[in-house]
């Protein structure tokens, strides 16, 4: 009885080991491809590589990708209606948002989930200048048009983008400091 169960477990773990070894490489590639596709979407067309980095702002660690001479793609998350809404925000060298993309969200289908598909909502962030327009929904006194019936999701999205802009400013300030040294 014990022998049988052990033997089965042994064989199964061997199978899993093999499966893991075989798929580890393609999984890593798929993830890199996905990240690269997102970066290409949120930043203007660029040549060369996106260099990953991270910066601490308050208690939160933000990941970003830097493309020399083009701008930064910052990953930022904020709590929506049913979990974090993770957004990648592309900001060009002049501090203007080029585009944004949702990396993951678990909002209500047909309501908050529209932050991924509603073009009116997504397109308003293209070419957004954070210096002149406030990144908050109109209900909170900002300039973001919320998705109908999904204010909480829209608020999270605006907050995530706004945090990304903060991160961008921190990165630029840090790098400016280094250059002066």
């Amino acid at each position: 009885m014990v022998l049988c169960l052990s033997a089965v477990c042994l064989v199964c773990s061997a199978v899993l080991g093999v499966a893991y070894a075989v798929t580890a490489e393609p999984i890593a590639q798929a993830q890199v491809a996905k990240t690269n596709a997102s970066i290409a979407k949120v930043l203007p067309p660029f040549e060369g590589d996106a260099v990953p980095g991270s910066v601490k702002l308050g208690d939160v660690e933000y990941d970003y990708y830097k493309v020399e001479g083009t701008g930064y793609a910052v990953i930022s998350a904020a709590n929506g209606f049913s979990g974090p809404v993770t957004v990648m925000v592309g900001i060009d060298c002049s501090g203007i948002i080029h585009n944004t993309e949702v990396l993951s969200q678990s909002e209500t289908p047909g309501l908050g989930a529209k932050c991924q598909t509603d073009e009116n909502f997504i397109n308003q962030f293209k070419g957004w200048d954070p210096a002149s327009k406030t990144l908050a929904v109109r209900k909170d006194g900002g300039d973001v048009d919320a998705i109908t019936a999904s204010t909480i999701t829209s608020r999270a999205y605006a907050l995530a983008v706004s945090n990304a802009v903060e991160v961008y400013r921190t990165i630029v300030a840090d790098e400016g400091g280094q250059d002066n040294e």
Binding site: C9, I27, T108
Partner: protein, 194 residues
């Protein structure tokens, strides 16, 4: 029982969703669109066929007392392999189904077929049984997905035929129960033999 009827019994007579009423959790949760239902059905079918084959092979040597743990370990292995494969080669599909792929382990259909069929039948018969039940499950999920997608999003397989939203409730959980209930009524009225 002929080989053909081994497969076809999963379509109507032993249809896992409408007739046996097994595996309700993935049925309700993943059928938000026709495509999701179809993908979930195919993923379950993959596990079902392979676990049926292996379990029918090992069943004669497994002592009765530990048979359930052994079956679960075997099923879990195939599910994890499937999960890794999907992550590697169809990451987009993996992302939509996400949590429900690992949950195939505890899908009653898979363990149910192992316990009710695979452990006392030949390898070939068990494989065919897995195929038949798998097709039945896939068809049911796809049909529920089609109905929910038409009513909830106004589209079929992602192809939109009305502008706007449709009846949102059908994309959410209450709609899943409603559609499943009414389809089960229709199924039992017109297809199931008394």
């Amino acid at each position: 029982m002929s080989k053909l009827s081994l497969i076809t019994k999963g379509f109507v007579k032993d249809n896992p969703t409408f007739s046996l009423v097994l595996g309700m959790c993935p049925t309700l949760a993943t059928t938000t669109s026709a495509m999701n239902g179809l993908e979930m059905g195919l993923a379950t079918m993959f596990v079902l066929i392979l676990s049926n084959i292996v379990i029918s092979l090992v069943a004669p040597v497994v002592p009765d007392k530990v048979r359930i743990p052994v079956y679960i370990v075997i099923i879990a292995t195939f599910v994890t392999v499937l999960q890794l494969l999907m992550q590697a080669y169809v990451p987009a599909v993996y992302e939509t189904l996400g949590l429900f792929i690992p949950l195939i382990v505890v899908n009653c259909i898979v363990l149910g077929r192992a316990e009710a069929f695979a452990n006392k039948n030949s390898v070939v018969d068990s494989a065919l049984d897995g195929l038949g039940i798998g097709i039945g499950f896939t068809m049911s999920l796809t049909v529920i997905g089609i109905v929910r997608e038409i009513l909830g999003s106004g589209s079929v397989f992602g192809w939109k035929f009305i502008a706007g939203d449709g009846i949102l409730a059908f994309v959410m959980a209450p709609g899943a129960f409603l559609v499943l209930g009414y389809l089960m009524v229709l199924f039992n009225k017109f297809l199931a033999k008394k």
